[in-house]
Symmetry: C2
Subunit: 233 residues, 2 copies
């Protein structure tokens, strides 16, 4: 392994495992130089990777600060899920994680490596205050992830669980977005009439674990809580 990758990995794991928390300062570039017997070019390269992936911010005169929210991942968020914060948001399991068949609801191509593996599936209804706003179906290959089935999610967050317990990060995504009529099941769950327009988002999340993707089909009502997205180079 390259030197800068070693430093990068060590620091990333310490961030993911909570040794460095949001707001903490990482060791300075010179401290890393001493600790690993490298030059500043190399310690900077390691930190620049963390910067690029949105784990830290660098502040001249201060240091490298760990940040809470990963840099915009091009993910689509329901406006309100982040603003409303934890207290006002409820995630209700319609189906707790189980081993199941791969569904033909998934519109993206699932690789053979994945389909030859068990599928973990779960469904959630996500609410802001008293309002149900999104139905979420998820599928992923069971690449040594069986404990997802037994344990609770960290902070009710699937991505946080993957990051902290399996060191798997989301590094990309594909979306397809449609406006559709709610079908019977979705209409019932979201407490709207059939023939209400709903947003149907098909997502494939690409992860840092090669060949491992997460597939989701989302249905949202957007009248009160539109889906939003922010991206900056």
């Amino acid at each position: 392994m390259l030197k800068y990758q070693k430093i990068y990995n060590d620091l990333k794991i310490q961030i993911q495992q909570g040794f460095y928390k949001s707001g903490d300062l990482l060791p300075s570039e010179n401290e890393l130089c001493n600790k690993y017997s490298i030059t500043r070019t190399t310690s900077r390269k390691a930190l620049d990777e963390l910067l690029k992936e949105g784990f830290i911010e660098k502040k001249q005169g201060l240091g490298s600060v760990v940040i809470e929210r990963r840099k915009s991942l091009g993910l689509l968020n329901v406006k309100g899920f982040s603003e409303a914060g934890g207290s006002n948001v409820k995630n209700i399991f319609l189906q707790k994680p189980v081993i199941s068949e791969w569904s033909d609801q998934i519109i993206f191509h699932v690789s053979e490596e994945e389909t030859h593996t068990d599928c973990i599936h779960f469904e959630r209804l996500r609410c802001i205050g008293p309002d149900p706003v999104m139905v979420e179906y998820n599928w992923l290959a069971n690449f040594e992830l069986s404990s997802l089935i037994e344990k609770e999610f960290v902070d009710q967050s699937f991505f946080k669980t993957l990051s902290q317990q399996y060191l798997i990060e989301i590094i990309g995504s594909k979306h397809e977005i449609r406006a559709e009529f709610a079908n019977k099941k979705i209409a019932r769950l979201l407490k709207v009439d059939e023939k209400t327009p709903v947003l149907h988002i098909s997502v494939m999340f690409i992860t840092s674990k090669p060949g491992f993707n997460i597939y989701a089909e989302l249905y949202c009502i957007t009248e009160k809580y539109p889906v939003s997205n922010f991206y900056k180079i």
Copy 2:
């Protein structure tokens, strides 16, 4: 100006103005060192900026290759606009660029600097083959952009025109996405019934020109051509 910024700027302008075209090789890192009397650290830094912003790909053993398609900007695209390519896509002006009032259709906050300036507005109907798929309303402040009103767009592309004629790049975006019923005008333009679900996307494009944003309201039918998005770190 810093040395690496000077090299970066020089190269970027040459790419934008077409001196280096898609597929071309930029001068090698060592050539830049000689030309500008700098070290490789500095020439690499300049090229890394171009890499980060999606102008080039670096290929070990070959060089820095100019690429056509800017790295995924987190932009939402109608699936089909890119695949179908130029020949099958039609852009019909419903309103050619004109000076107008700022509209209250814009849902994002428009800065005072912008509202104190004239607004340039245009509307397009975008079609794939015989199918109208999107109605597009656009607004932007007339920061010395009057010639947009007289001239044709480069390859019918507004962003290409901004890049090549004004050296303005899109560096970020905010979206809000809703599923709605088509109103009368949209239904007529998209040749669907009223009460058909349409995708309504509100966009604010952030540009490389400080304080200059582009605002758009888009209405899409997504049955045949869903809106898609790809993002990778």
